[in-house]
């Protein structure tokens, strides 16, 4: 049974006082079956991210909503802000699966993309 094990080191400069000590944190990891595991764990420790999936209102369409997603994970803290902003937006056909609806949403680096076609 694969069992990825090792150490991750992250350099973190302290900004509390002008000394600006450049130190680092060392984290032991174990128990992950593949290399994606420890990368995820590190991200959970430092800045947890999630994919956001939701729907957006449509106009001039037979369907009331279009399912959408972020093109990549965004930080957890930004999620509710993104949801709030999307509430006021509407899209109309024609849209194809994968089309970018909003690019670089709120500076997250992630685009909002269509999860299906909206042809009528």
């Amino acid at each position: 049974m694969k069992n990825e094990e090792g150490k991750i080191e992250k350099e973190i400069t302290c900004i509390v006082c002008p000394s600006n000590c450049s130190g680092s944190i060392s984290v032991n990891f174990q128990g992950y079956e593949c290399s994606k595991g420890f990368k995820f764990a590190l991200s959970e420790l430092t800045q947890p991210r999630r994919i956001l999936t939701t729907t957006i209102l449509t106009e001039k369409s037979k369907h009331s909503l279009l399912p959408i997603r972020t093109s990549k994970e965004i930080t957890k803290e930004k999620i509710m802000e993104v949801m709030h902003l999307l509430k006021s937006k509407k899209v109309k056909p024609p849209i194809k699966i994968g089309d970018v609806i909003i690019s670089n949403m709120l500076g997250t680096g992630a685009d909002i993309i269509a999860c299906t076609d909206l042809l009528e």
Partner: protein, 423 residues
């Protein structure tokens, strides 16, 4: 009534029906007819707007609509015949042909005759009535899937203060969905001592949003006259009986139920297909054929899956087998088949029997969670160590030719056991 003669009928066009129908067409069946009761093909994946689909099948993390889009496009490119808004009301097997009666408001009642059928009707949700929750019968009580349809397709929020009974995946997914849309989810209440869905969902749907998961608890009463106003919950003992002194009231305007999925086999029963009472679906062999020649089944109608990827893999086997049946009219050889028996800590195994010595994936679920176990098939035939086993996570066993080699002559039964290392 109208009569339509064809080669292969697929009942239900969710991922199972589409994967099976597409594979059958690719395997050489010219006339593949899909009968679907909804107004579009694709089944429930249209409303499953969350991601986590396709990790095995496509190697990508897709949302439900993205996953099914591939199959919908392929079905259309291959020109599978679609009968939408058409409900099958009868299924029977007569004179070596299959007979399906269906109806829609355009054509009325239609009789379909075909050589083979693939059953892919999926499953339905268990309701409040089925689990007898005492109390009044106000509005505001929905199965989680119904709420999902309202929110993600119709565009209506079903309530503002939500309580969810059952920690199955759909319940947890809806806990997150409702929170994202501005509702307040008070808690997810689970009668068992462990979570009913995938661990990944417990983390990303409940823990991420600080939604309490109350294990060993259930709803004992519903309050409210026209609209639900609240529930009484209680802790339960090992016999699932409410413990006096643990009752508490939770105010809510909506109750979502995620208390089990039941394979939809009304038609299977009608046709006289042998069902497995534990899996809830037809008894099938490694080619996904039921006890009736020419009738195959795949997907949630056979057993409720956790991952749509496995639904599609299983359904492709049904599609290939149905095509073989149609093209070669391969009669089932009555060779002594091997029965697969659910042993220690195993709830069920699908397929329930093997008739050919060829590679097959066995799917099973355990009864109770456990750690550090050995999964064994037969005495010395197959063995695998597993760190964790959970009822909510289906286990796949790849039974290969090398395992068949180990079978003693005349083996009639193979028991599948999951036992702790240390015992």
């Amino acid at each position: 009534m109208k009569q339509k003669k064809t080669e292969l009928i697929v009942i239900g066009s969710g991922p199972a029906g589409l994967a099976a129908g597409i594979k059958a067409k690719e395997s050489g069946v010219n006339d593949v007819v899909i009968i679907e009761r909804a107004e579009r093909i694709g089944g429930l994946l249209h409303q499953c707007i969350h991601n986590g689909f396709g990790l095995h099948y496509f190697g990508k993390d897709l949302t439900g609509p993205e996953f099914i889009h591939y199959f919908i496009k392929k079905a259309s490119d291959l020109k599978l015949e679609m009968n939408l808004n058409t409900m099958v009301t009868s299924l029977s097997h007569e004179n070596e042909m299959q007979r399906v009666i269906a109806q829609n408001s355009q054509e009325g009642v239609i009789e379909f005759i075909s050589k083979a059928i693939i059953l892919s009707m999926g499953c339905r949700e268990r309701t409040r009535g089925a689990i007898h929750i005492p109390g009044t019968r106000p509005a505001g009580i929905f199965t989680a899937g119904t709420a999902q349809r309202f929110i993600n397709v119709e565009g209506f929020i079903v309530g503002k203060e939500i309580l969810i009974l059952g920690s199955g995946d759909i319940g947890m997914i809806m806990a997150r969905r409702m929170t994202l849309e501005g509702a307040q989810v008070k808690a997810v209440v689970e009668i068992l001592p462990y979570c009913g869905g995938l661990v990944r969902n417990e983390i990303q749907c409940l823990r991420d949003f600080g939604i309490p998961l109350l294990l060993n608890h259930t709803v004992v009463e519903i309050h409210g006259r026209n609209r639900i106003e609240g529930v009484t919950i209680a802790k339960v003992d090992k016999d699932f009986q409410p413990i006096p002194g643990t009752f508490q009231q939770i105010k809510c305007d909506t109750l979502l139920l995620s208390v089990g999925l039941i394979p939809e086999n009304e038609l299977s029963r009608m046709a006289g297909i042998e069902l497995d009472p534990i899996s809830g679906g037809p008894v099938v062999d490694e080619s996904m054929q039921t006890n009736i020649d020419g009738i195959f089944a795949c997907g949630n109608v056979v057993h409720v899956h956790d991952l749509v990827d496995n639904v599609c893999l299983e359904s492709e086997i049904a599609g290939i087998s149905a095509a073989k049946y149609v093209l070669e009219r391969e009669k089932r050889i009555e060779i002594p088949s091997i029965k697969l028996i659910a042993g220690d800590n195993v709830r069920y195994v699908v397929p329930q029997k093997i008739t050919k010595q060829k590679e097959v994936t066995l799917y099973l679920r355990v009864k109770k969670p456990d750690k550090n176990v050995i999964l064994r098939v037969g005495d010395d035939v197959y063995e695998k160590k597993l760190f964790y086993v959970r009822p909510s996570e289906m286990i796949a066993v790849n039974f290969r030719l090398e395992h068949f080699m180990k079978l003693k002559n005349g083996t009639k039964e193979l028991k599948v056991n999951v036992k702790n290392f240390t015992s």
